[in-house]
Symmetry: C2
Subunit: 349 residues, 2 copies
């Protein structure tokens, strides 16, 4: 582990034109929630995902029609597509044929060695990586009675071994659990022993409020250790929320510098101003801003100036007016009415 | 650091009847956002906080009227009260006199040694602990140009030294930053060298969506290390959301066993059922449940049974119906119409 001093060294691979691992930025991915064979629906969902900042899209491929749909979807979009397949190697071959940029499939779930060989050959021919994705459902129940971190790592290593024996190393790994401490421990154990790039995620995390907490803890704790190369926040609900949360996780850790990061106090008896309303107005008016800026809105003069001085631009509001800061220096005194417009002026200049 | 093998050993102190540190459960606290001297408003906010699961309430004390209000507030509520004071030792003495159960004050901000001695004597007489709360605004700018983790720890140690020289050790410490990696690193550094109980929080975390992500990462990463004795999620917005998020953080890490934890899939092309609607209906109907249960709602049969079998009770939904699991065993096949009622029956039995 590198504990905040740097990022773990991993092999690099490509999903389409998106590098994963090595010194590549940590990428954000999601999975569509509509039937893959319903192409207009899929394309609409992909468009919303891309606009929100998604960089890789995974599609569930439960049948041949879905595999064939990949070709038509690829014609209409440039985002790299991962085909998610369980058990059926023919669906994997069809997905590759249809233009999938990567597969998620566990080779140990295929029927026999011939199927694995055919799969690896097809991947090698088209330079397509495979994500081995283990979770609580994929552990070896003859050896582990519970889906512990050790059981998850063991399962991943079994699948990896099958590919490595065929000298296939274009592998990305995920070790997901719905139990956050297990998930964190599994990735940490794996990161100590192997250098494949890691796809981080907490699985089956629930609806918005629980999912965002679990994903932030699990993904965030690992990224703080320098572990993780691509992330997926799983939410039962709108996929766009997954991307927004993923971006916020990366920005909070300084791993992405984009958009407006608000520094605002929780407000207390000392507040002299409706901070929440001001912040929400600012966020609404700046949601399409791409450049990174740290903007402080502080409701009092006690913590205000100290924290706001670390922001690129900020206000600290007192009884009778406010002070506008920029890069740690007071620019001017303003009235409370001018707070929003003064901040917007600095943001958009 | 104990890295998931156990909890860091800390001294124990009491805030009212709530133990902090040692083997005490990790407690949840918040701070009221209305003027402390507006007693009906404060009492209404405290009631909402208590109902949501808050165990300690902090009040900002910017003036004498607020300090005196503590007595009237204490008459009407049993939750322990922390008086939050900056600079003015007379407000601290008045708050103690009025019945505050703890103080948050940084002794280095008092004017002279006599003031500190008077404060310590008053705390000792009434057995009242002091939280030293440092943040980016309180670093020694003659020695540190930026509020780094080291600067935060240095600042805390300076304040601690003042109390220790008077042989006062009823100390709790917070080292907050709005920058999550700095906050995590500061607490980790401090935890390696001192055994005072720690109050965890990310400060000035912004409005709901950013605040919950930042707080979950920062507080969660530390709790995974066994660091942290009491927590406060800071949100610019409704304080009740802070408590809900804090409870979700603790439950996600297995540190609280209360309420319904939902295991539900993000849904994909394989889903056979509106998982989000079902989960939201379940959450609404079980939000007052105190006992801990892990309830799975899985939208397909691929990951469904594997994950659901780890839950106390769960359903995995296929094309034509669903399977009800309990403690890892299938109880019965049910129709899709029966999913909610079957789960509720198991939850409430």
């Amino acid at each position: 582990m590198s504990d905040q001093t740097g990022r773990r060294k991993t092999r690099q691979l490509y999903i389409g034109n998106v590098p994963i691992g090595g010194d590549a930025p940590i990428s954000i991915q999601s999975m569509t929630s509509c039937p893959t064979k319903n192409i207009p629906l899929v394309l609409a969902e992909i468009k919303r995902l891309e606009e929100a900042g998604c960089e890789i899209v995974r599609l569930g491929i439960p049948d041949e029609e879905s595999a064939r749909a990949i070709r038509l979807i690829k014609n209409e979009t440039r985002i790299p597509i991962v085909a998610d397949i369980h058990f059926d190697y023919r669906l994997a071959l069809e997905s590759i044929e249809a233009g999938a940029d990567a597969l998620r499939i566990n080779p140990g779930n295929l029927r026999n060695k011939e199927q694995v060989q055919a799969l690896v050959k097809a991947c090698r021919d088209k330079n397509i990586p495979i994500r081995i994705g283990v979770n609580s459902g994929s552990i070896d129940k003859t050896r582990f009675s519970h889906p512990t971190a050790e059981a998850l790592v063991d399962s991943a290593l079994e699948h990896i071994k099958i590919l490595e024996e065929l000298e296939f190393f274009e592998i990305k790994v995920s070790l997901k659990s719905s139990h956050v401490p297990t998930m964190v421990r599994a990735y940490r154990l794996f990161a100590e022993i192997r250098d494949y790039p890691l796809h981080l995620g907490v699985t089956e995390a629930g609806t918005y409020e629980q999912a965002i907490v679990k994903s932030s803890i699990g993904i965030g704790a690992l990224l703080l250790d320098g572990i993780g190369d691509t992330i997926r926040v799983s939410i039962t609900g709108d996929v766009v929320k997954e991307i927004e949360a993923a971006r916020t996780i990366l920005r909070s850790l300084g791993l992405r510098k984009e958009g407006i990061e608000i520094i605002s106090c929780p407000t207390c008896a000392r507040k002299e101003f409706d901070v929440e309303a001001a912040v929400n107005e600012l966020l609404e008016k700046t949601k399409h801003v791409k450049k990174y800026l740290k903007v402080a809105v502080m409701g009092c003069v006690v913590n205000g100036p100290g924290e706001a001085s670390e922001a690129d631009v900020g206000v600290a509001v007192g009884k009778t007016g406010a002070v506008l800061f920029k890069n740690g220096k007071v620019i001017k005194n303003i009235s409370k009415d001018q707070i929003i417009s003064a901040l917007l002026e600095e943001i958009f200049q």
